[in-house]
Structure formats: structure tokens, C-alpha cells
Amino acid sequence: MANMRSKEQTSSTIGASLPRNDVYEKVTGTATFTDDLQFGGKLLYARVKRSPYPHALVKKVDVTKAKALPGVKAVIVGADFPNKIGLYLKDKTILATDRVRFIGEPVAAVAAVSNEIAMKALELIDIEYEELEAIFDPEYGASPEAPLIHPDLGNYSWPNFIFPKPGTNIANHFKIQKGDIEAAWPKCTHIVEKTFRIPHIQHVPIETHVAIAQQDEKGKITLWASSQSPFAQRALIADALGISPTDIRVIAPFVGGGFGSKAGVTMEAIPVALATKCKGWPVKLILTREEEFFTNFVRQGLVIHVKVGCDKDGKLLALKNLMYWDGGGSTEYGVNVTRAGGYSSSGPYDIPNIRTDSICVYTNHPIGGAYRGFGMSELHTGLDQAMDELAEKAGLDKPEFLKLNGVKEGESLDTGMKMHAHGLNQCIDNVSKSLDWNGPRTPSSPCKLRGKGIAIAWKAPAMPPNAGSSAWVELAEDGHITIGLGGQEIGQGTFTVMAQMAAAALGVPYEHVRVAGPVDTQYSPYEWQTVASRLTWSMGNAIRAAAADARRQILDVVAEAWKENPEDLDIINGIVVSYKTENETSLKNIAVYGMPRENDQGWIGGPIIGRGNFMPTYVTGLDPETGQGTRSVVHYTVGCEGLDIEIDKNTGQITVLKAAAAFDVGHAINPTLVKSQIEGGFVQGLSSAMFEEIKLKQGVMTNPSFVDYRIATAPDVAFPLETPYVEVPQDDGPWGARGIGEHPMVPTIAALGNAIYDATKVRLPGPPFSAEKIYLAMLDAGMID
């Protein structure tokens, strides 16, 4: 019957590659990003005076001349805002107070009627520094000889799952002790011990950070920001200013790329602080590309010492993982990267004996924050390349080794948590097949070497155990629905996927769903942050619940009006239908006005608004010494990547012939968006493997521009990239969906490193795997002359 057919049409929004609901604006240039907002002639321009030293005491800051410059409306220094701010470990202030801890750290800020005047005012600010010995290496920083960067660490505040060591530069030390590692080594037939160094890199969103703040005469603040975290920014900035969170309203337009850089609070606090000194004036701070590269958030560097052992059959027995994270001058966010790197330090491998020490160290380097992968890319770069060599020693083909040792459903993870169902083996098979793993590896010419590499990876959403989502669904007079959410559209397609989910859960066409954007903390429902690859799963659950709530309300009203049972009713394509009587009414007819009783005896119903929320309730704490606990994380997304490459013997240049990336996404709500995420993440991963590095010399970033910080361009990725994803449903995911945002960037460096090794027998100590490094390594190994 017609009803059954319509039902299929509706539920097919799940799994359908529907076009994005923000794309028309984006292709016509009408999509509003934060710097597009118009504030008229009253807008003030902020510029920041930054520390030229990696480590120094601030002896004196004199802003008298700057304040006196005509056109300057406000000048602020650290002492004006002494409260600490931070997501996890509160270790920084909005501007530096008595000490600077990295080159580029904000020390003072100016708001003026033009950029020109603001720049002149900066020059008039006199600051006296006393240089201190600086730390540029995390292992040195963790040693007892190193001077302290945060002597006051013991007085900071932190949550109960972070373990700083006051009196040292150690901001967090996460430990795993599983089984008996010392007893395990003698049982190992093969052991590989390696050290890798992964350099700092930056997110390089094409839109740099931008924030505009204004405080009204009553003291209420509005902050417009390119933000992944409107609610967290509200809470953290309010806390630092000593005001209530609802006294700050954060409005977050489209984001031109985040990748973690726009999570938490970084530069956004500065225009807010300035705005409090010039009430009524909107103050805009936009970072130049140069500032974006090193003054705000970067991905911390890592020194990883990994030792792995297996038995004669190649079965893993032991893993020792010692990681020193180069956290930078502030680790308020980075401490959790260390933790996540720690509790996931086994990778998706089943290993009975594990010793992990994941140590976050203060250094006088740029601030390590949230970066796509949250420690996983750095970890797997070391771990999987060590596994690659172990597989070779054990005489196993890598895919065979991976499938033998990959963690299975029900097995106990490094933290003791039981692994859920997942499709890792299928991912490995898909990648092997795409690359014709067992096929010939013939170079295309005598001056080339050919190799294939494969790597596996996993990641769980890294967040506090009680990170929550909420949503509402409202029915409008035209029968269309508006969905309220607090997660941000940063390019990943969340507005589209949420609309698809709401459409499916309620019973309306996708085209009839509007998203209440931009996210505005005054009206939008709470969302922890747009990070951790958590929105499809967490916010999706909230949206689904809200839509189901609205649907129930609708069916209850109609059932009452029709004197039927709600169980016999359905909503299909925006029409309420009865399977029993074949009565029909469009949602238009009941949306806000309800339905009339018989004989003009009044009305029932009214405006329909559904609500839902989701918060995981089952994540438990972990023992501080052993890292063991019942449930360390909500779930893992697992996957595999591989590359087929050639190396030019004359130059060391890499040519990728083919690549494949397969991940278990649970259920692809929008297959094109899933594939797009995997493609983009893979290329970002490849870019970090081949080109990217923040070149730090004595704390100075020597390449803070696109001229010398290279990223992948279109000609660099002219190879077929296959994305055969896998779907093993997530038990508590909406329609079984699981997150995929970060994962495609995680195993790429290891996969490429393995391919280079296969081609050249050269194993570089860390990325980027530049042509120069490969050429000189081949030369020094006597492979070429």
C-alpha cells in the first residue's frame, strides 16, 4: 500500500548521500564566516604584543604611551586578568603575568580604531624581560636538572584523571601496568626496540582564528568566534573573568576548518578581555597566518621509545611504551592528549603484558593543544612502525601479523576494558585487496624503487566521562521542522547528518529540516565541544531522541483527535497516517495550533517541541598506577591504511601509485560525507607524513608561513585513493553509527614509513619523510652512490 512505500522513502535518509544543506551558501559566497560579520564603523581592531623570548620573567610592562596614542580605546596586560584559565589543567592566564613561557606568548593587547594605530600602539608598549634558561627537549624537561617552567604547578587546579607532578615540569604522567612485562621479555623470540621523534605540526585551517567581542553597559558579553566549542568557551572565559556563564553569549558562525585548533579557549579570551575595558565597542582580533602557525595551538611533538616482543609464531607478548610529549608552555588541553595517548597506547593490538608511561612535559615551545587524532597519529607513527619491523623479524607478512594480533571482540584491552564488536580484519582485507598486496612490486623504471606499506590504528573519543549533548526539534506552521543543536559545522557535515537523522526519526523529508544556526549559546541547546569525532554518535543520539520525542507528542495528539491508538499511526514524508483507518493529515495542520475536538468542543495539542539529550553513563575511572578500569572509553573506531609507492633513486622523491583507507564507521549515515572525511583526513595525514614540520630552533619557529611550511597541494595527491569502509554497528550509536572525523589521519605516517622501508630498507627516525632524508639515508646505507 502507499503507506508502506512512503515509509521506505523516509527511512532512506539514513544511508543516503544527500547533498549538504549548507552547500548552496558556500558555493555562492553567501555563507557567513566570522570575519564576514559586519559591525560598521564602530569596530575596533585588536593586536597582540608577544613575547620574543622562549622563557623569561616579565619585570615590567609600561603601557602609558600606548594608552595615550589617539585612536587607542583599550590596552590590557596580564595583571588586569589574573585568574587562571584552562580546560583540564588550569595553568595559564589570558595574558602572561609574571613569566613568559614560549615565543609568541601574548603579553599585552591593544584595541584601536584601525590596525595601523593598533600596530603603532604595540611599538609604544615597553616591556622588560629577564631571560631564563629555556627547555627545548621534553626528555631534558622531565629530568631533575631542568629548571622549572611552572614552579607553582602545585597550586593549579585539575580534574581527578590528570596527574601532574608539582616540583617538576611534568604536567601529567599516565601509566599502564598490565600483566608482568619483566617476565614477558625472556619469553619473546623476537624483540624490536626503537625510538621515533615526531615533530610539532600545525592544523593549518584555511580560515585563521578570529573572534569579536562586545560588552554592553550592563556587563553582558557577546562573543562571535570561529569556534569548535561555543559552550566551553563561554564556561571557561566566564570562569576566568569571575562571572556567570550565562553572562557571556557565544555566537558561532560557519568555521573554515578547525581540526582541533579552534577547540577550548585560546585567542578568543583576548578580545573579550579588551571589550570589558571599552564597553559598547565591538573588538575584533583576527590572527595573521604567521600568528596562526605558532602562537595559538599546535600539535605537540613526541619522543616515543617503543619496545615490542612476540613469540616464535609472531604472537605479541609484550609492549613497553615510554612517551615524552613536548607539551609547550601551557598544557591545559595537552595533558589529556597524554592521557589518551596512554590509555590507547597498545594500538588495536592484543598484548597481554604492557608497561606504558605517557608523560606530558612543559617545554618552552608553542602550546600543544587538541589536534585531529589527539595523540593517536603520533603514537601509531612509532608503534606501528615498530610492529612492522617485528612482523618482518618474525617472518610474517604484515597483514597476516595484523590479523593475528589485532584485538578481538571480548578481549581485554590495555586498560582492562573489554573490546566491543568491530571490523578491523575486514578493514585490513579491504586495504590489502585495494593495493593488490600480494601482487608484484615491480618498479616502473630502473631508477625507481617500489614498496607497499600498511598500518592499523584506533581511536576513542577523548573527553571527560560526562561529556553531554542535547537537542530540540520544533515543528513550524509549514510542517517543516527546525532542529536545535550545539555542535558546530566545521566542514565535517554535521548539520547535514543531523538533519538526515531528524528527518528519519520524525518522518519528514530531509528537505523539510532546517538547522537552527548559527549556534548561539543564548538559544542553542548545550553541546560539550565539536571534537573527539563524537557528534555523529553523541549529538546524533540527542537529535534522534528529540525527534522521537516530537514524534510521540504528534502521534499522541492525533491519536486522541482521531480516537485511535498511537501504535497504529505513523509519520511518513510529513504526513501523519493511520494504518488502521487510512486517515491522513499533514503536519502542517497540527504544527502549532493543535487539533480541534469534535463538535467545536475546544482544541488539543499545541506547539510541538521535542527534546533529547545524551551523555555516556558508563565510563569509569582508571587506577593511577596501573591504568586499569572497567571502561576507559565509550568505544573505539578502528581502521587500516596502506600505500603503494615508488621512490626515485636520483632524488629520493616519493610517488604514490595508489592508496587505500578503510575504517569501521558502524553505519554510514551519509556515505559521500563519510568518504569525504576519509579522503580529506588521509591527505592531511599524508601531508604530515611527507611535508609538515614546525622547524623550531631555540624556541623560534623558523618557517611560519606557507612559503616554508608546506602542505599537500592538488598535484601532490594525483593517485587513486580508495575508501572501502566497513560497517559493524555501534551498539549505542544512532542507527549504529560511530565517529570517523579524526581517524583517517592517524595511521598514515606509519603506513608511508612502512612503504618506504619496504622499498628502500630505510627506516627514518621520524616524519616528515622528505625526499632529502630518504635520498641521504639511501646514500649513507650504500644503496645508491
Partner: protein, 153 residues
């Protein structure tokens, strides 16, 4: 500072403006004409987010002084659609899924449109070369290249 008086055509509309001499074409478009579709990604001529057509040729508008543009004919992303009808490349990039955050999109569309005008049937290599100066961080360029191929058909 002295202002320069210029007459310029932007998306087929004639404009007369007085511009500060250090103002770039990009800033002039975004702030004087409120055409905020064109984006600033680096102010250094590297990322291509600011690409517009200047007398029919794609340029980084952050590297052109507004004062140099007296008598010039400019097309921005806002000028690609004609009377509400999207251009071939705009339609193609929607269909292929080549838009994620959308920040590189305006510059990318301008470069792509210019390419197809000078070479209606480019090879994939030629497409990639034509957009080497348009950095994208979200898509990996896969579906952008697909879109340009499709629009070329």
C-alpha cells in the same frame, strides 16, 4: 594618508570608490563593497582563498592594490551564478561533494572557472596544476578535481 579615486566594475556593476593606497583589492571587496565571499587565508599570495578574476585572469587579490585597479573588471564568487542560476562548476562541486568547510571554495571556483574558459577540456594533470595555488585542508582535493572534470564534460 592619500586616497586614490578609482572606477571599477565588479560582477558587472560599475563602482566608484576612494581607496587608501595601502588597501588591497581583497580588503576593498570585503570591506568597501561588502562582498565577503572572497576570503583571506594568508595575505601573502600563497593560499588562493582570495582568488578573483582581474580583467578575466585569476589573481590573488591580497597581492593587488585597490589603487592599481582603476578601470579594471573584477569577477568574484558572487558573480559566478547568473540570475540565480549556478554555473556549471558550482553545480558540479555540489554534486561531487567537493565542499566541506567552504572556506577555500570561492577561490577554488574562480580558478576552476578560469581554467575551463581557457581550456575547455583539461587533463587531470592540467586541472591539478591549475589549482595548485588553491590550498584546501578538508577535502584532499579528490572531489574538487572530480567536479572540475565533470564541469568540463
Amino acid at each position: 594618508m592619500t586616497l586614490t579615486h578609482i572606477t571599477i566594475t565588479v560582477n558587472d556593476l560599475a563602482e566608484t570608490l576612494d581607496v587608501p593606497q595601502n588597501m588591497t583589492l581583497l580588503t576593498m571587496l570585503r570591506e568597501k563593497l561588502s562582498l565577503t565571499g572572497t576570503k583571506n587565508g594568508c595575505t601573502a599570495g600563497e593560499c588562493g582563498a582570495c582568488t578573483v578574476l582581474l580583467n578575466g585572469e585569476p589573481v590573488n587579490s591580497c597581492m593587488v592594490l585597490a589603487a592599481e585597479c582603476d578601470g579594471a573588471d573584477i569577477t568574484t564568487v558572487e558573480g559566478l551564478a547568473r540570475e540565480g542560476k549556478l554555473s556549471r562548476v558550482q553545480e558540479a562541486i555540489i554534486k561531487s561533494g567537493g565542499v566541506q568547510c567552504g572556506f577555500c571554495t570561492p577561490g577554488m571556483l574562480i580558478s576552476a572557472s578560469a581554467l575551463l574558459k581557457r581550456d575547455p577540456h583539461p587533463t587531470e594533470d592540467e586541472i591539478r596544476k591549475a589549482i595548485v595555488g588553491n590550498l584546501c585542508r578538508c577535502t584532499g582535493y579528490v572531489r574538487i578535481v572530480d567536479a572540475i572534470k565533470e564541469a568540463a564534460k
